[in-house]
């Protein structure tokens, strides 16, 4: 079924967003999302079981709203796509079970696709309708921190670097909790940091020592990888020191210094990875792409090396079904085989698997 402008419905449930998106080729018809974020706020982080319960209740209403918003019927849809990993196991399972039922009920082909690659496929939905050559991607969210090289979005996606412990967004959430700021931590710290001095505290830059970095010719063990768990501990020590001495914690300065450490490492490693892998356009994705300081520094450091940076609108950066549909449509347009209904969600799906059963 190789058609240039397939009508594809995409389903996303890998974390706390239940998303249903519909695209026609590279034209976005609807991006309908139901989020359980508010239910996680009192815990200061996403609780998988609460997210999974919310997916069950939200799925059919979200599907119904998406079809109405796009003004299409299930009969008209050419193919279905669903995120099958990576993500939270119990959350993925809801979207996958629903997508399989929808495939059996409608007889439409189903593509089980990679969540991270779907984030990059958002780039298909802008007015150009195709991805730039020599494309790279930086994905930063509560669950992910990855630098990718994307020679071919339907067949060749490579992981250049990633966090080896906490995702950047997770570090933001944990530090926000330490500082008594709200959830999600990203916007809260970004806001608090505006009145602070980013040089007030010199927090560690994880995995930037020479032994990890090596050189372009002889890369170290973690040249493009990141680590935020030691940083979080360093922030906790500073906060405790102030508390122990009875002094007020300088929240704005700590927030600004923490944020500077995170964005310094991400932007430096990203610019380096792009330069050394002949990437000349970088697409940013994930909820933390909304962070003003991260954007500013990534853009500044990439431009200095002649790399163009694309930041999609925020509702396409955060988890959504439209990105899943966009990647599905691309797979259909290229005549790639559908996955079918016999597959298993894979919480640790590697980024090299763009679509299950077709690589």
């Amino acid at each position: 079924m190789a058609t240039a402008e397939p009508l594809v419905l995409g389903i996303e449930s890998s974390c706390d967003e239940t998303g249903v998106g519909i695209v026609r080729g590279t034209e976005l018809l609807t991006n309908t999302v139901s989020s359980s974020m508010a239910e996680h706020a009192r815990f200061g982080g996403v609780i998988p079981e609460i997210a999974s319960r919310a997916h069950l209740e939200a799925f059919v209403p979200t599907l119904q709203a998406a079809l109405a918003d796009a003004d299409v019927t299930l009969d008209e849809v050419d193919a279905l796509a669903v995120t099958s990993g990576p993500g939270l196991a119990g959350a993925l399972m809801v979207g996958v079970a629903a997508a399989k039922a929808l495939a059996v009920a409608t007889g439409k082909p189903l593509y089980a696709i990679n969540h991270l690659v779907a984030h990059v496929s958002v780039g298909l939905l802008d007015e150009r309708g195709k991805l730039p050559e020599n494309l790279g991607a930086l994905l930063v969210s509560g669950g992910h921190t990855e630098i990718l090289s994307v020679p071919d979005i339907t067949g060749d996606v490579r992981l250049l670097g990633a966090t080896i412990d906490d995702a950047a967004g997770e570090a933001y959430d944990k530090v926000a909790r330490l500082l008594g700021l709200g959830y999600p931590g990203g916007p809260a710290i970004d806001k608090a940091a505006r009145n602070g001095d980013p040089a007030a505290f010199r927090f560690p830059r994880g995995l930037t020592a020479g032994k990890y970095m090596g050189s372009a010719e002889k890369p170290g063990s973690h040249r493009y990888d990141m680590s935020f768990s030691g940083l979080k501990t360093a922030v906790a020590r500073v906060v405790e020191t102030f508390e122990a001495s009875g002094q007020p914690v300088p929240v704005a300065d700590v927030a600004a210094s923490f944020q500077e450490s995170v964005v310094d490492v991400i932007s430096r490693k990203t610019a380096l990875a792009c330069t050394e892998n002949s990437i000349d356009t970088l697409l940013m994705g994930g909820g933390v792409a909304a962070n003003s300081r991260l954007r500013a520094l990534v853009i500044e450091r990439c431009r200095a090396r002649g790399i163009e940076v694309i930041v999609p609108p925020l509702n396409l950066c955060t988890d959504n079904g439209a990105m899943v549909a966009a990647l599905g449509a691309r797979l259909v347009a290229e005549g790639r085989a559908a996955t079918g209904i016999v597959f298993t969600a894979d919480p640790g799906l590697p980024v090299s698997t763009v679509s299950m059963g077709t690589v």
């Binding site: 997916h55 809801v94 079970a97 039922a101 405790e240 020191t241 122990a244």
Partner: protein
Amino acid sequence: MLSLDSSSIASAALTRNGEVLAEFATRDTRSHAEALAPAVYNLLGQAGIEPPQLKAILVGTGPGPFTGLRAGLVSARTFGFAWQLPVYGMCSLDALAHRAAQDAAEGTEFLVATDARRKELYWGRYMTHEDGHGRFARPVGGPQVTAPDQLPALPVHGYGAGLHAAQLPNLVTDSAEWQPTAADLSRAAWARQERGIELSTDTSPLYLRESDAKVAVHRKKALR
């Protein structure tokens, strides 16, 4: 009617007035999301049923381990939406109880139990009735989740009970391997329908337990 249950094992059945046309059941209790949709596809083929011939969807609402339970529920709701059919929900324990009631005397009370993991059981209390349509089980208590030693001293049926035989002197050994199935669930549903009792369209999951998440107690301040 298409019935699904994923409260323990995953199962599906096509039935007409409580008569099973085709059925499917997994052996294990850990492959629900994978197995159900392919099973439905195969059952329709085996029974030679076209989707427009279906009149309703029935789903077991648990209690059961959360992730598996949701696979059946979201599948049933999605089939209902896509095929524009009513979706009915029934307690999954009713399936076991209907089966157990077939060999019980009028007026006897009994329990059915499934594995709730963490050394606990999901269980319900039923009474056997007999009328012109045959025997059926009427729920008189539960469902609830407790440790095995909290169960009332009544005959207890089901695989869940079999797992804790040492603590359950009233275990009925003949039924110690029984699991709730979609086929038994649709028989139990038909037993209600032929007695003029309407099925419920409530498909809310019977989780019976809260999610384990705890709100973080305020972080301890460093000592001065």
